[in-house]
């Protein structure tokens, strides 16, 4: 059984239908890239998976490890092992990174029946992971994402992912706005997390990221549907022809 099974998923925001029948199956150990032009619905798909209530699912289902994901609150999804790296990480003045991440980790550990970590144990867990993401430890004492640069925010997302060790990681345009050095650090963090028991969905507009995080599968989304699926060469093909070219071909084929 696949870790994630999306069947005929339709979702709308307000009255506007954005997802129009997505079918996708993701097994543990796999990395799937989801590409597509602006407005194709790729971020919506990521948000629906994480439980953002801005979107209403009108049709279809999502099974995570055989369970109905759409019935779960965002926090329950996180506790079950779903993690989304935000396209726009939220600034939360007044809550320290340390407090926030320790609370998150301990809630997730508790739901797994593991003992909570105290401050010392927690610091031991995070130290190595911060080093991997080339993050200064001082960031722990700063308010969540507050006053962070764009690159720091994205690295902070991947750092959180490394600490929370999800079973399904969804990266929502984590590459956008990153310079090549930051991109490499982010990719290194993500690659260090690749594991047989873990699946990843990498949502991106650009092929560039996929040079560093090499996917097992690539899906092209347009107008709320998966137009085409393939292996990593599909991304390179897209780089050549662009989304516009692809859509024309598809339209031609459908006709």
């Amino acid at each position: 059984m696949a870790l994630l099974e999306i069947k005929n998923l339709h979702a709308k925001v307000g009255e506007r239908e954005i997802l129009r029948g997505i079918d996708l199956s993701v097994n543990a150990g796999e990395v799937h890239a989801i590409m597509g032009p602006n407005g194709s619905g790729k971020s919506t798909l990521a948000q629906v998976l994480s439980g953002r209530d801005l979107y209403t699912v009108t049709e279809g289902e999502i099974l995570f490890d055989g369970r109905d994901l759409l019935e779960m609150s965002p926090e329950d999804r996180a506790r079950e092992g779903i993690f989304m790296a935000f396209q726009y990480p939220v600034e939360i003045p007044g809550v320290s990174n340390l407090y926030f991440l320790k609370a998150a980790l301990n809630t997730i550990r508790k739901s797994k029946g593991l003992p909570e970590l105290d401050a010392m144990d927690f610091l031991n867990v995070v130290r190595e992971k911060m080093a991997l993401m080339e993050m200064d430890q001082g960031l722990l004492n700063r308010a969540v994402n507050t006053g962070f640069s764009g690159g720091e925010k994205k690295r902070n997302e991947i750092f959180q992912m490394a600490v929370l060790e999800p079973r399904l990681a969804i990266l929502d345009e984590t590459d956008s706005g990153l310079d090549i050095d930051a991109l490499k650090i982010v990719a290194r963090g993500v690659n260090s997390m690749r594991a047989p028991e873990r699946a990843m969905i990498v949502v991106t507009h650009y092929q560039r990221l996929l040079n560093y995080i090499v996917p097992d599968f690539v899906h092209v989304l347009a107008e709320g549907r998966i137009l085409k699926s393939g292996d990593k060469t599909l991304a390179l093909e897209l780089e050549e022809t662009g989304y516009a070219g692809l859509e024309e071909t598809e339209a031609f084929e459908r006709a």
């Binding site: 994480s50 439980g51 953002r52 209530d53 609150s73 965002p74 926090e75 999804r77 996180a78 506790r79 993690f83 989304m84 935000f86 990480p89 939220v90 600034e91 939360i92 003045p93 007044g94 809550v95 926030f100 991440l101 609370a103 998150a104 980790l105 809630t107 997730i108 739901s111 308010a143 969540v144 959180q160 929370l164």
Partner: protein
């Protein structure tokens, strides 16, 4: 409001009894007389008066309060530790129903520092008390201050001599225990910090018992030249109680005074806080109020830049839930002589329910031309994006909500320099938010 007219007479007739039995020097008797006359003239304020437009004191005016019985026997030291915070070096003065309770107090002070009962200082014929008492907290336009002054008997008297730095915070704890009927106390505090002295004072108000209590407190702080005073007030009375208080600070030249006013308890709370600045004084007046259910809290502040080169910072933050209501009225007066004044005022409110109501009003009166004065007020809700972000990391919705509410109050909490107080306040806020959700 017929009932409202009659009640002052109850207090006025009780005053005759009080004046007969209450011992005191002639100067004190005169002040009390003036005060009760003033109260009889003013009566309880009504919402027709601008200063009380959004705060109806009818529930106070229509209640027949008995004078609280000063009986400390019902209170144990363990109660205080459970309800409050303690630290090995904290000096604590405890007042039960308005009267000093020496058995519960703990005093170890450097030579020359006086901290104890105002009643004792009055009996001892302290010239300083006579010189300063009731000279700052004006009662001519404030009925409750007049009432307090008329019935003033006890409270804290603190004197820090010239050049003395008091390392240990002074914790003044006021406990109301309830009787069979609603009861009233009029705590009166006088703090004299001489030039170049430094001290930290905390006033905490709590209550034990089911019956309604009314605390009507006045605190006067006189800080000399170059004196540094950090004042805190923690109002934690039960949610069925009434609390009206006046704080008046007279700051000295080049002095630095700060006050942090935290209001969490009480059904009906009114706090009038004023600071008069001298030349080059730096003044900070911050507040935090958390109300839910049917609670009402009203903060009226007055920063008086009387002399040049004064700086004032004022931040009040409010958290409102349920059908609660709050008022913030921030007056800043810059007198003609007060050139180079730098004054900043902010009031921010976090409204968690549909029914809660906040009235906020800055009141700037500027009579000097070379000054910088800014003010701003905001009213907002919890940030849905931030809430989702926390949830998406596994933190439950209600815990995430509490976390964001505390984050809103964080900058005020973090400015509390007395560590045990800061920790206890965080706990209390968490507990209260938790209770509010039930």
């Amino acid at each position: 409001m017929t009932g409202v007219v009659e009640q002052p007479n109850v207090f006025v007739s009780r005053f005759e009894e009080f004046a007969k039995t209450g011992a005191g020097a002639p100067w004190l008797a005169r002040i009390r007389e003036q005060a009760i006359e003033r109260f009889a003239t003013l009566g309880f304020p009504t919402t027709r008066e601008e200063e009380w437009r959004f705060t109806s004191v009818a529930p106070i005016a229509r209640t027949a309060f008995e004078p609280a019985v000063p009986d400390g026997r019902g209170v144990r030291a363990a109660d205080l530790e459970r309800l409050l915070f303690t630290a090995p070096n904290l000096v604590q003065l405890v007042f039960v129903n308005g009267r000093y309770a020496s058995g519960l107090s703990r005093i170890a002070l450097p030579r020359g520092v006086a901290a104890g009962s105002l009643a004792e200082a009055l009996q001892g014929g302290s010239a300083e008390v006579e010189q300063h008492l009731a000279r700052y907290a004006a009662f001519d336009q404030h009925a409750f201050a007049a009432l307090n002054t008329a019935f003033l008997e006890d409270g804290a008297f603190v004197r820090i001599p010239k050049g003395t730095v008091l390392e240990t915070p002074l914790h003044l704890i006021f406990i109301s225990t309830t009787a069979a009927a609603p009861s009233v106390t009029h705590p009166r505090n006088l703090v004299l910090a001489e030039r170049d002295s430094q001290a930290t004072l905390i006033e905490t108000y709590i209550g034990i018992g089911e019956q309604v209590t009314f605390t009507n407190a006045v605190t006067e702080i006189v800080a000399g030249e170059n004196a540094v005073i950090d004042h805190y007030k923690l109002q934690l009375e039960p949610v069925n109680s009434f609390h009206v208080a006046m704080l008046q600070v007279q700051a000295g030249r080049s002095g630095n005074v700060s006050s942090h006013l935290v209001s969490i308890g009480g059904a009906l709370v009114r706090q009038d806080s004023g600071i008069v600045l001298s030349e080059g004084t730096e003044a900070t007046l911050n507040g935090l109020y958390l109300v839910s259910g049917d609670q009402h809290v009203d903060n009226h502040t007055a920063i008086d830049h009387a002399k040049p080169h004064g700086t004032s910072h004022e931040v009040f933050k409010g958290i409102l839930d349920g059908r609660s209501s709050a008022v913030f009225n921030g007056r800043i007066l810059v007198r003609p002589d007060a050139q180079k004044t730098d004054s900043k005022q902010t009031n921010k409110n976090l409204v968690l329910s549909e029914e809660a109501v906040i009235n906020t009003k800055p009141e700037l009166q500027i009579f000097a031309d070379d000054v910088r004065c800014t003010h701003g007020a905001t009213i907002g809700q919890l940030d849905a994006e931030a809430l989702f972000y926390l949830q998406s990391r596994g933190i439950g919705r209600s815990e995430a909500r509490d976390l964001l509410v505390l984050a809103f109050a964080r900058d005020i909490i973090d400015r509390i320099k007395v560590e045990p107080m800061r920790h206890r306040l965080e706990q209390i806020l968490f507990e209260r938010l938790h209770v509010n959700r039930q």
